[in-house]
Amino acid sequence: MSDTPAQADAEETPILEIDHLSISFFTRLREIPAVMDFSVKVMPGEAVGLVGESGCGKSTVALGVMQDLGVNGEIVGGSIRFRGRDLSEMSEAELRDIRGSKIAMIYQEPMASLNPAMKIGRQLMEVPMIHEKVSKSEARARALEVVADVKLPDPERILDAYPHQLSGGQQQRIVIAMALMANPALLILDEPTTALDVTVEAAVIELVRDLGKKYGTSMLFISHNLGLVLETCDRLCVMYSGEAVETGRIEDVFDRMRHPYTQALFRSIPLPGADKNQKPLVAIPGNFPLPHERPPGCNFGPRCDYFEAGRCDAQAIPMFGLDQGDRHETRCLRHDEIDWTRLAIDGVETARTEPGDVVLKVDELQKHYEVAASALLRGGETKVVKANESLSFDARESETLAIVGESGCGKSTFAKVLMGLETATSGAISLRNTPIQNTAIEDRDTATVADVQMVFQNPFDTLNPSMTVGRQIMRALEIFGIGDSDAARRERMLALLDLVKLPREFADRMPRQLSGGQKQRVGIARAFAGDARVVVADEPVSALDVSVQAAVADLLMEIQREQKTTLLFISHDLGIVRYLADRVLVMYLGHVVEIGTTEQVFAPPYHPYTEALLSAVPIADTRVKKKHIVLEGEIPSAMNPPPGCPFQTRCRWKSEVPGNKCETELPPMVTISGGHQVKCHLDRAHLDAMEPVITLAEPSAEPAE
């Protein structure tokens, strides 16, 4: 975060000036306003964040800037000026010239932006060859330079590669390189890191920030993640339901927010200090309004704690400038009446539940897959994918154990073995002292099947789209042998809907009529249909919007408290893990590298990998000071893991271990203190000397102007 080029640049022409922009989409039935009365200014060298939940219109703004709204979209009011020129008055040829050379856009899915049939080098060289008509050799030289700039190793080799030969993080770097090839004045990034792992995300974000400084590019950074925006942007614009509700400098909006939606958003994300028992998250009540069902007056009115009937719903609300801060504006009528220092109103404290007996015990679990080395010839050489190498832990009744790790670390494989979809290669899993590691699901008895259930990640995929919600829950009841008649099962199904706080009418609805959060609740009801003792929740909230995440996470906690379920919470989001887990298990390449209570894992001493993970997670709190650790290189393939310690290829502490122990010997599990174990060769002195990655500075009463 750099200081804003504030007042001094006030007279300078902004790179991008969006003024009272309104965009609508026209369908056969009606006009759907997607963006209304939206204004934002991006000065040279400035990075502006655009934050909001899905459907709030932030991507539509970006498409509007690119003048790429499709046949149904139309700018119905306001203007978009690029360096003082109105984009809507430019001809198609002028626009084509600007796109890609003056304004570049980076999309969420890197693979979708790259041509899979063309070598990276040619795709990069095309940009200056088309826009600046430079020679082939000059373009190649430029491509090499930019590839080196985005910190990819061995640029020559990369230029000769096809996109599919690179990893997701490398692909996204190439997309960024391609955007930079033309040396654009404005870079639009639409959720550029959502498809990437946390440590890769951290590296890409750092790259974007550094390049922005080096090339002096202005940026419009679109994201739903407040933490990322804090790390990359100077200014911020919060959007809700097609409108900007608050804009201002990062510090002003984060620390002295003046719109109830911004406030509610911050209360619903797990920041350091939130706690599931003492300081629970506050979900925003109600649902996001559909674009054609927006309320009169303030769009946020029906969900706002400070709503005043007759005033907030009387007329359209304009943006109000605020005295404090630099160009800090809010779309709230009551911004000077509300006591902004007051704490959340309905945070309910709950008693901490004590974990009971050990329910699930995993001992030295190993799962290897054999894959044929060549697809053509069967039976020849086979390669072994070592998905789980040695997994040992136990989980107690009414305990939440978080399993943390990036993609490819083996968490999903473990879930499969536990559920019985795969059987273990060696080792043991015992569920209440019954070994189940070698019993496939079809051989398990109904009680065991009902006892271990799963909540899935993608809400849009978790329910069968062609069966009513009620039928799907009742089918689970039928299978688990609960209830002896259809009527009894229907009664139980309705009770389950009550349990997950869904109205009973939803029983007869089809899944497509439900929102993402509601679908996830049905998924939870289905998992708890047979009174499950162990529930594996595989990233249950990561695909949901921020304001819904809190509600679903709290629902899981509440059911767990009532039913004393053991929850295995698989996640890569360390914020939510710290908020709701009792114990945390960190996995890397099929190994448990660290395990302990949440406090132990989040405080030093760390396993070097945990340390890097913690540093990578963006936190939306200006008080947080993070130590900066960026992991180099890629996660090694599970088919060909490095010898010795699995993390040795990326570890920054490797030099502290004498000899080549890291490269030859698998480290033992070292117990640090009561239940806190780390798999590392580092000696105690080094471990004890580790500094905390995240420190909370005292909130400054008067932020620097």
Binding site: G420, I441, T446, V449, Q453, M454, N464, G523, G530
Partner: protein, 484 residues
Amino acid sequence: MEPLSWTGAFAPLVPVLWTALAAVAILALLRWIAGFFLSEGDTQTQSDGTLAVTRGPLEMLDLATWWALLAALAVVAIFVAGGAALAEGAGILGAMSRRLLPVWIALASTFALSLTFKRRLGLYGKLFDSTIGMIGFALVMFWVFAAFMGAFGLIVTHDPLGQSGAMKNELPGMPYTRMLGEVAEGSYPYYLLGGDNLGRDVFSRMIAGSWVVVQIAPMATAFAFMVGITLGLPAAYKGGRLDELLSFLANLILAFPVILLFYLLVTPEIVETGIPAYMAAVMFLFPIAFIAILLNSRYRTRPALNTPLLIAVIGGLGWVYLSLISERFGPLDILPQALDLFDIPGGILVVFVSVVFVNSPTVFRIVRGLAFDIKTRDYVAAAQTRGEGSWYIMLWEILPNARGPLIVDFCLRVGYTTILLGTLGFFGLGLPPESPDWGSTINDGRKLLAIYPHPAIVPALSLLSLVLGLNLLADGLREESLRD
């Protein structure tokens, strides 16, 4: 009696129709050329949220084309409606329109009902949002209604097999005489679309031919689908060796020349060996297996309901199956005559078997591809983790979610089957020689095509319009099902 002219009292309208059609063609060409020089009008948003387009020369041309097209359609509508009112007074077209009156009424009421309730009718209702889909549906339903009503003797004017020495190769609209100079009292006075080389009524044979198609094509396609689904789902879901084996078999069948296969199947020597009958015996097992597995996987947790249901369904379908395959003195003479519900003529059975045999590998491939994608969804994993059986997952979790593409493919495939039936008829394979089906009729008419084209053109156009209708219907369904 005077022969009927084509349009009778509406003759003055014919030049109007040609003028309108010529105008459409010329205006469309002009619009296309002008598009290179002129730019389109600006769109503007009005305060009520609607879009307004300023009228430039291009928009005027568009409008003129549209009006010319409407004028042409209006003349056609007058021919149909006026013809139904005036009957022979409006010439051949009028008389045909009057004969088809029940079809018009049925079509109009189907459309009126469907359009009224289209928001409550799911995918079927959405079809009525797409013009292409509606045109296709209208063409298909025209032939379906005509076939059924023709089968009940409503539309046909003469016996499709009845010959007349006087009517050989007579042109459309000729008055009917049984023998030269002999006027047949009480029978319909004209051969509306003329007579063929044996003096049979082409119009009646066209209607009767549609009945053959409507009877066989959808049923045979449905059987092909059941075979394809019952094999395609496990191939995709289980994968491995089973998949390799089944895919290889499918490729083997697809690699075999279809026409040669048909010739082989209907050769008397092959029929005598009983191969087609045995093939039928195997293929017709699939629907029973399909339905039984479908029900069992769904209700296996409730034995009190499941057992009687399965006994009833398997018993009932089994009886139909045995009646179907068992043939007196045929290779499979299993069922006692007293219990045999019906006999299918051997030729029809062969046609049926051939069509199912060549269509099911393609269906197999489509189902396999769809199931490969759907089996990775979380709801399939959810079903696995609650211990559902494989068949439940395949038939109740995967299959319903593949229905969109399968319905579209079904429509297209009924079209292919119709063409296939035409081909079989044209080569005289399977169906009896005097059969009025379109393929046989085209083959009959082919011999004198240069002199008397009408006996071949009528069934050819019928075949074309039905298949076109099915393809348009499939397009409309695809477009609308993608829109959700």
